[in-house]
């Protein structure tokens, strides 16, 4: 297991956003977490990154408990996050954004890593001198993923990479995520509302409702599950 989340409770003030969440991600997998708006998906990702920290429960990454580790150190251990809403640096150029991602990794890898990112997203090479804020939504998402990849993570956390993007672009992004997983051997934990794409890609999936995991199974199992179809697939497609 590269990541184990065990009975984690997270609070925002008095509100309990995660009510005892447990899940596991194995090395080399793509694991998807689906759920409705406000179910606590993003909170779980943020909790894994230590901001906010879990009030109780345990998070173990690669055999090491990181429940109380400060965020910046978690990143250095090999977990990278592409946060919700992309959060690229708008006044920095694409190249500078990517450099920011490489801040924690050995400078000797920089040129090679940059080439890898540009191979995944040729658009970023074309736009390398442009400011982040002037990119389109899809390009910004590519940049956010690219930036996260620059820290050479072993586990990549993606928070709604399809948010607000055209179907064509969504397809491209998911293809790249698959690439990152298959070709580069990075384990991916994906949080999505776009259940169809996400589950098709996933080795395994979890369904979250009101801060609790209600269902789990392989991607294919969940895709054919009646409840999942009714709640997350049929209306949207």
């Amino acid at each position: 297991m590269i990541l184990t989340v065990d009975n984690v409770h997270t609070f925002y003030g008095a509100i309990e956003a995660l009510r005892g969440v447990s899940l596991e991600v194995d090395e080399g997998e793509i694991v998807t977490l689906i759920g409705a708006n406000g179910a606590g998906k993003s909170t779980l990702l943020m909790t894994i990154c230590g901001n906010p920290q879990a009030r109780s429960g345990q998070i173990v990454f690669d055999g090491e408990t990181i429940t109380r580790t400060p965020t910046f150190q978690i990143v250095r251990k090999g977990i990278a996050q592409s946060p919700e809403g992309r959060r690229i640096f708008p006044r920095m150029t694409v190249l500078e954004n990517l450099q920011m991602g490489a801040l924690t990794s050995d400078p000797a890898h920089f040129d090679g890593d940059l080439e890898r990112i540009f191979a995944l997203f040729p658009r970023l090479r074309e736009r390398s001198g442009q400011r982040g804020g002037t990119l389109s939504g899809g390009e910004q998402q590519m940049l956010a993923i690219g930036r996260a990849m620059m820290s050479r993570p072993r586990l990549l956390l993606l928070d709604e990479p399809s948010l607000g993007l055209a179907p064509m672009i969504v397809k491209q992004i998911f293809e790249v995520i698959e690439d990152i997983n298959r070709e580069q051997g990075v384990t991916v934990f994906l949080v999505e509302q776009n259940a169809f794409h996400a589950l098709r890609l996933a080795t395994r999936g979890y369904v979250m409702v009101n801060g609790e995991i209600t269902l789990t199974g392989t991607g294919a199992e969940l895709l054919s599950n009646e409840e999942v179809r009714a709640a997350y697939l049929e209306g949207g497609h």
Partner: protein, 499 residues
């Protein structure tokens, strides 16, 4: 704009009239009480009200016609605008009995609307030509050009600054230049926290005060020399920055600003009330002047305290200017050091992290940046520069008291940073010259200079809301083969489409 039709006068006139009348009304409402009513000490030391209808009328008339001229120009009748502008200038100059300040404002306003009209006359709107650039776009180009040419401008600027005492060898010019240079240094120091890290610090004067009092007190109690105290003052101020840094680490935005504001006041109030140690409101007097690097003293006697005097050492005629020029060069060197350090840090990961913190602090954290440490670093480094400036201030004045370290000082330095364009080093210089130099130059206008100063600030912020020279040049590019400041050198040249 396929077919630009010249609008007819009949259409335009009511619109222009309405606009001018409205502007006049607003002016009336604004000035009626503020300018129109004036309290004067009357008989038996009672205050009586005096009505100044004339002044209100002048303001309303000036705004009415000025607005009318601008509106005519905008609506496609620049000739009318120019005519009214000339009339305003002529009227202000020729009408008998106008106070000087009204004359100046009239001529200024007339000139502005006139120039605006001439601009339009010279470049008429034609359908086949792209619309002329607005002044804001022009200024964007200027800002970008200034940033690109920053090396050349820097060299010319420094050369001018070095030559300045010889170009204007009189006391008042050198004093003013020293003052401006002090604020440039403070501006560059604060720029690290405000411009780069994006933290609104309203209490920068605290570190200035810590630096000044460090020197003042160390000299008073232990008889330390300036050259020993300068680094100590920097250290103590940096320490103060660190102490302030901790409680504000978790704060952002408005809350952060308020705490720093409070900290600035605390330092001042402590200095004011701890009379037994700091001298309280009386301050510290007769702070020793700096020697010439511990080699010579600036005295008229050929020898003092066992050191030769500067003029005998170099075989010059004695003049009190020597010390002033030396002080000027001292602050110039200090400021340039601050600038060099800031520019260097900006290219290091630390500087980048500050910028990332400014742009998005959540993303910043998720990239493995330790927000606590880089915030503390920004605070400490910036405070240290403030401390250097403070000890220079103490040695230059020879006297310090808490009065010199009020909130208004923080506000002025902050205004310099914001006005110059957050994060722009050249912008700080320009803004410091404007903000410190301008009121000094217009001293003859007495209290009206602050009015003009306020108006200038408002105009600049409306016209360039992000500061005069707000333009960020990327620190790395793919093409050209050579990358500056990147984590590793040597990138193969790439074609990057022009932005």
């Amino acid at each position: 704009m396929a077919a630009v039709q010249r609008p007819s006068m009949d259409d335009v006139l009511p619109r222009v009239g309405r606009e001018a009348a409205l502007a006049g009304l607003v002016t009336l409402a604004l000035t009626a009480t503020m300018v129109g009513l004036h309290t004067v000490p009357g008989a038996q030391s009672r205050l009586t009200l005096e009505f100044r209808f004339g002044d209100v009328l002048m303001a309303v008339v000036l705004v009415f016609f000025g607005r009318m001229a601008l509106a005519f120009t905008r609506e496609g009748f620049p000739a009318y605008g120019l005519g009214i502008g000339v009339l305003i200038v002529a009227g202000s100059l020729l009408y008998p009995g106008l106070p000087t300040v009204v004359e100046i404002m009239g001529v200024g306003a007339g000139a502005i609307v006139g120039i605006n009209a001439v601009w339009r006359l010279a470049r008429p709107m034609r359908p086949d030509r792209p619309p002329p650039k607005t002044s804001a776009q022009l200024m964007d180009d200027v800002a970008a050009w200034v940033q690109r040419q920053s090396v050349v401008i820097g060299v010319v600027g420094v050369a001018f600054a070095i030559a300045l005492p010889f170009l204007f060898p009189d006391r008042s010019s050198i004093d003013l230049a020293t003052l401006v240079m002090t604020y440039i240094m403070l501006g560059w120091g604060l720029n690290i926290v405000v411009g780069l890290a994006g933290l609104l610090d309203l209490g920068y004067v605290a570190f200035y005060a810590v630096g000044a009092y460090s020197y003042g007190l160390l000299a008073q109690y232990f008889d330390f020399s300036f050259w020993l105290c300068l680094p100590l003052a920097g250290l103590l101020a940096a320490f103060a920055g660190l102490i302030l840094g901790f409680p504000v680490l978790r704060l952002r935005g408005d809350y952060f600003a308020i705490v720093t504001l409070g900290f600035g006041e605390i330092i001042r109030v402590v200095l004011q009330n701890w009379s037994s140690f700091t001298g309280g409101p009386d301050g510290i007097a007769s702070i020793p002047r700096p020697s010439f690097f511990g080699i010579a003293e600036f005295t008229s006697a050929p020898e003092a305290d066992g050191l030769p005097s500067f003029h005998t050492l170099f075989g010059l005629e004695f003049t009190p200017l020597h010390r002033l020029i030396f002080l000027y060069y001292l602050i110039l060197i200090l400021a340039l050091v601050v600038n060099a350090v800031s520019l260097r840090i900006r290219r290091l990961p630390l500087g980048r992290s500050w910028e990332a913190l400014r742009e998005d602090d959540v993303a910043c954290q998720s990239l493995g940046i330790n927000r606590r440490n880089i915030k503390l670093a920004a605070f400490t480094i910036s405070a240290m520069f403030g401390g250097f400036a403070g000890s220079f201030f103490a040695t230059r004045q020879g006297f310090i008291s808490p009065e010199s370290f009020t909130f208004i000082e923080s506000a002025i330095v902050l205004a310099i940073v914001v006005l110059g364009g957050m994060g722009s080093q050249t912008g700080v210089v320009l803004a410091a010259i404007l903000i410190i130099g301008m009121p000094e130059l217009f001293r003859e206008l007495e209290e009206y200079r602050m009015l003009i100063f306020g108006a200038a600030m408002v105009i600049i912020m409306v016209w360039r809301p992000r500061g005069l020279l707000a333009h960020r040049v990327p620190t790395v590019t793919l093409h050209g083969g050579r990358r500056k400041g990147g984590p590793s050198p040597g990138q193969r040249p790439e074609q990057v489409p022009a932005e």
